[in-house]
Structures are given as C-alpha cells and as structure tokens.
C-alpha cells in the first residue's frame, strides 16, 4: 500500500469527523467562490469591454451635458469609424418604482452600429427605426417587467419630468458579457422634441468606434484637444478605463470583499488543521510503531499531509459543486435582473472555480504542516509511551 493510500484509509477511520470536516471545508469554499464571483462579476464589464470603443463626456461632471453638434466634430476626426450619443433618462416604472433599470435616450441607427454586440432581430430593428415612440428592452428586463413586443409602457420621468408613453417594439439580447441586458432604450429625438428650447439639443455622452484599438489613447487625446477651446471641455477614455474608473468608486467595498474572502480561507484552515491535529494526537502510538518498523519521519509527515490534502480537495469539490446551482439558479439570476447595471453577467467563472480547487488542496497541505512536523519530530520511544 502506498503512503497516500494509507492516508486515504486513515480518513475513513473516523468517518463522521471526516464528513463534518469536509462539510466545513465545503461551506468555506462555497463562500469563497461566491465572494470571488461578486468581485469577478464586478470586473466583467471592464474585462469584456470593447477595445475599439471610446467614450466622451463632460470634463467636470456627468451632470453637465454637451452640445449635440459635438457629435459631428467627433465623427470628423480621423480614425473614428462611427459615433453615437445617448442621454441618461433616469425614469421609473410607475408600477414598480423600486425597480432600478438603466433607461437611455439614444439615436437608434448609430447606436446599433456602435454597439453591434446588441442582438436585435432585423424586423424588430426596422420597427424600432420607424417608430419614434418605439423602445427596445433587454431580455432580462423584459422578463422582469413582464412586457412583450407590442405592449405600451409609460415611464415616469425624474430628470425629464412628466409621463412618457412608449411602445415596446423589440427585445434584445447580447453577444458580449459586458452588455447590460436590462436596459430600456428609446429614440433620442422623441425626448428632444418635447423639451423646452433651453434644454434642447443637449446630449449626455458620445461613444465612438475607432478603426485601430491600438490608437485609442491618441484618438481620445485628439478629441479632447478639439473641444478644449470650446465652452464645454471633455474627457475621453476607452470603454475599459471608463469601467475601471466606475469600479474605483466602489474600491473600498471590493477591498472589503477581498479581505473577507481571505478570512474565510483562514477559518477553513483552522477547521481542517484542528481535525488533522486531533487525528495525529490520537494516532501518536501508531506513528511510533511505524517508526519502529523503519518508516522515516518524512514518511509520517507525508501521509499526514496527504490526508489533509485529500480532505481539503473533497471539501473543495463539494463546495464548488454546490456553488454552481446556487449561483446559476439563485443569486446570479436575481442580480442580473435587479442589478444588471452592476452585474451584467453573474456566473461562476471557471478560473474562480479552478482557483478555489487549487486553494482547497494547498491550504489542506498548509493546515497539516504543524501537526505533521510535530508528529515527525517525536522520537520513537516518546510516541510509543504517549497514551491518549
């Protein structure tokens, strides 16, 4: 029998304790996976951001709008393939005012050109372009609001006061993980023409597609320099930097999650280490016998560590296995529906699962270091004499 085989056999001696320990490890790994998935999902938008898209907004604040004619200046810049604009509308569904979802006034034709990962069937696209009161919604939001094509929806304006009736003409899905599938998008013209003179022809931000992702920084600088001498200055950055800067606002929260995810691993090590230490104490006499028949201290250490790694891995696999249904059917769906702007895609990433498995093995080994060292150092006589 190999040493590792012996280690596995040992696990079955106190089956009840091994099961409890594996469960403890599983819960810890489950927690770890959930926490890391939150952090990962928060990063999704940045990680999967389009590399060839840059966004321009007012330099000082997102609450200051830009003149609409800026869009022509951006389109005139060399390297810009297409550009579109949008306004944050910020309206609520009067039937469910606590349901927060992104609603924006966009220019449909150029918007779909710039965001070509938004998947909209051709006839729905045509219907949207033709219908000025037409709006499209993401499939996640459509399910949540319970709307289908042809429905009439009235939103209650907050920034743009009043009741705004729309007709749902399309439901989109996304070909990229970073796209929020709970947005409500409608014609910018429809909003603009209802505005009083002084609030007309103002846009929230501009998004441009460039032909060479490598020149993003150059083109961004070029755009900002054009507007630097105008009355409204701008700042342009890649979609990725925009997302990163958005995340910076939550940096303390992300750091807290980071720390908590490490704390749970420490707790897991304590549970595991405790179990191993107990086993070692109970078997001290056997180690003496093994040493007496010729096994070396390192053999003793190996099978203590081996037992711990095996236990860690069993718990790890179990924890990861539980995390999948919890995320896919529960938390993930809830977050995508209710916090789509923050978590456009909330799933267990294979990388997170892989890291969790690796850590459960590694920490299993680490947890056994102290007990294993103690057991290996004991002299044969001492261990045979020790009676628990």
């Amino acid at each position: 029998m190999t040493l590792f085989g012996l280690a596995l056999r040992n696990l079955r001696r106190n089956r009840f304790r091994a099961i409890l320990t594996a469960l403890g490890v599983a819960v810890a790994i489950l927690t770890f996976v959930l926490l890391r998935t939150v952090i990962w999902a928060w990063n999704v938008a940045a990680e999967y951001a389009a590399k060839d898209r840059i966004a321009t907004r007012h330099k000082v604040s997102f609450v200051i709008q830009l003149p609409k004619r800026y869009i022509d200046d951006v389109r005139a810049i060399k390297g810009v393939k297409a550009a579109t604009w949008a306004n944050w509308f910020g309206a609520k569904d009067p039937k469910d005012p606590n349901n927060f979802f992104a609603n924006m006034a966009v220019d449909p034709a150029s918007f779909l050109e710039v965001y070509d990962e938004i998947v909209l069937p051709p006839q729905q696209k045509r219907a949207w372009l033709e219908n000025r009161r037409g709006a499209i919604v993401g499939d996640v939001l459509a399910r949540k609001m319970g709307v289908k094509i042809g429905d009439r929806v009235t939103l209650l304006g907050t920034i743009y006061a009043g009741d705004w009736p729309f007709e749902i003409v399309g439901i989109y899905s996304a070909a990229r993980k970073s796209i929020d599938r709970s947005q409500f998008l409608f014609h910018w013209e429809y909003m603009n023409e209802s505005m009083p003179e002084r609030r007309r022809d103002l846009i929230g931000w501009i998004v441009a597609r460039i032909d060479d992702p490598g020149r993003g920084a150059d083109i961004s600088a070029k755009i900002d320099s054009v507007f630097d001498v105008r009355d409204a200055q701008t700042i342009t950055m890649s979609e990725r930097s925009l997302q990163l800067s958005f995340m910076a606002m939550f940096s303390a929260m992300l750091r807290a999650l980071d720390i908590v995810s490490i704390i749970i691993l420490v707790i897991m090590m304590m549970i595991l280490g405790n179990t191993i230490a107990m086993g070692v104490r109970e078997r001290t006499g056997e180690y003496g016998v093994l040493r007496a028949v010729g096994f070396l201290p390192r053999h003793i250490a190996t099978f203590i560590v081996g037992e711990s790694i095996a236990l860690g891995l069993v718990g790890g696999v179990l924890g990861i296995a539980i995390s999948y249904p919890i995320v896919e059917l529960g938390i993930g769906r809830f977050l995508e529906e209710n916090m789509g702007s923050f978590f456009p895609y909330f799933r267990v990433d294979p990388k997170v699962a892989g890291a969790a498995l690796l850590l459960s093995g590694l920490l299993g080994a680490a947890a056994a270091i102290l007990p294993a060292r103690g057991a290996a150092r004991l002299s044969v006589i001492d261990s045979l004499r020790r009676v628990e």
Binding site: T21, V27, T31, F62, V63, A256
Partner: protein, 388 residues
Amino acid sequence: MVPLSYNLRSLAVRKTTTLATALGIALVVFVLASVLMLSNGIRGTLERAGSEDVAIVLRKGSDTEMSSGIEDANVGVVASAKEVKRRGDGQPDAVGEVVVVVALDKKGTEGVSNVTVRGVPDDVFAFRPEARIVAGRAARPGGAEVVIGKGVRGNFKGVELGQSFELRKNRPVQVVGVFEANGSSYESEAWGDLNAVRTAFGREEMVSSIRVRLESPAKLDAFAVGVEQNKQLGLEVMREAEYLEKQSEGTAIFIQAMGTVIAVLFSIGAMIGAMITMYAAVAHRRREIGTLRALGFSRASILFSFIVESVLLALGGGLVGAGASLLMTFARFSTMNFTSWSEISFSFDATPGIIGGSLAFAAAMGLLGGLLPAVRAARMPPVQAMRA
C-alpha cells in the same frame, strides 16, 4: 450539576484545539459585527443630516436633489409660506441650494470618483447650526472658494486645505476651510458659493432644492398641502429625515444583504468547527463521563455540562471577535451611494445592541454546535464508558 471549573479546565487542557475553534468563531463574529456596524454607520451618516423640523422641496417626480430643478423665482414663493419659521430679522429660515457632482481623481486608485458639490447661500451655517468650520476659515461670499467636509478631505486630488480643483476650465476653486457636521453625509460634500457653482454648471437662476425650517415638526402637512396645491409650481414636499432615509436605502440594503449572506455562511462553517471539537472532546472523555455518571451526576447534568462547555468556547471566541471589531470604529469606509451617484464616507458605528447581538450569535453557534455531541455524551451508558 457538574461544576463549571470542570469545563473551563477541560478547555484549558486541550489548548490548541480550543484556540483553533475559538479563533474561527472570533473571525466570524468579527466579520458579522463589522458588517452590522457598517450598515448602521450608513444609516446613521445619512439620517443624521436630517432634522425633524426641516422640510425639503423638490421638483415633482425627482428622487434626488441632483435630478431636481426649481426656478429661483419660486424659492421666495415657497419660503414665504406661513408655516416657515422666521429668523430674528423676520426673514424666512430657508435655503435654496444647487447640488451637482464633479469627477475627481481618487487617491489610491487609477480612477475618478464623484464628489458632491453643493452651491450654498451665504447664510448656510445659520441654517445648519450643526455644521462648523474645524480648520481654515469659511468661504468668502461670491468668490471662487469652497469649504470641504472632513469626510472627503484628502481622499481626492485637490480636495485638501490650501489646494484647489476645477469646476470649469481655468476656474479653479480654492479650498479654504474644512467643516464637520455631526458625522452626517454633509461631511462628504464640498460647499461653494451658490452663484459660482450654478454658473459653472449652466444652471443659472435655478436651484436643486429648497429646505425650510418649519415652526414645528407638526406643521409639515399644512406646509406640504400649501406647496403641492399650487400646481403651477410643480413641486413636492418631504420631511428631510424621510428624504434622507430614502437616499440611504439602496446602499444600506445592499451591504446588509451581502453581509447577511456572508455571516450565515461563515457561521455554518464555524458551527461545524465547534461541532468537530465537541465531538472529539466527548469521544476522548468517555471515561470521565462514565465516572461522572457513576458518581451520581444525571444525564441531564452531563448534557447541560457539555452544552455549557461549547457555549463557553464560542463565547470566548466571540469576545475576541467583538473586541477586534471595535477597532473598526477607528476606520472609515468610503463608497458610492447608489442613489446620489457620489461618494460618501462612512464610519463603523458600534452600538451595545450590535456587540451584544454578535455575542449572542456566538453563543448560539456554540449551542447549536455543541448540542449533538452533548446528547451523545449524555446517552453514554456509564459502565461501558468507564471500561473504554
């Protein structure tokens, strides 16, 4: 009744195991107490800014000051209502303010974050007596000077006494003072001259909100009816405290929900840890238990004794964890508020209820973890147990 010292000495004799288990529980209690303190701090920070006798007036449909807009001319109309308290000089105790956010480089990250800038009239400190300058001096009226709350001080580039940041190109505002406001969310804002701020943001002759001090808190309804009845104004009235509670809702719920999920999972892990330890304790002490029974201790007292031991173990860990969490009251946590889209700096607010509740939680973990092992101990037949 088995004496308590028996349990205490049993715990002391197995110190490694006791320590590992107690530390696991300590970490759980630490995380739980910190989360509770933080969400308490968030509510406290946002709600402390509200007074019962102050009413806030926003444009109808606006959820936040930032999305609201009221014409200057209407400020006088609202403030002249008879329910509004008069100052010594006969003027109504009311302020019209403009609220905007600026994006500033956040120190320690590669991104920018939003800071609320409030354009305030000269008599703002008279209206908010809880606010006072703690460093530097008050801003001169009409000038390009601002005072900053101590919660944002030093967190952003330029937001420090003697430094400056831009509200618009080539129009820097100088930070001349730091104020504190009873730990409220105002401490996360920068206050500048009303006209300077609204000119920079193209909001001439508009304010975001009007706050009035009522003659008594009970006058709110009468005041609200008066303002809301005048359809031409298109305004709505809320008690300030109520408005601020709504502002904190999203963020507090998010942190609380996340904290609860974490605490539940953590506690399952720690409970399993306690269970393993107690099962082992019972298994090792078969002979002792048998002896105790032979001496005449009843099953019930054995059961009780082991439960007490487990609760003591958990409480010991809980005390360490709760003690460590008190250190968090020295830390500040700055994150974005979902409703106002700007950063607010929070403190961890400990209350006796939170600390007591966390300790009770630790005791409950000990109780649940120790219950099954204690039952096993109590059911041991004394003769076999002694023979083991």
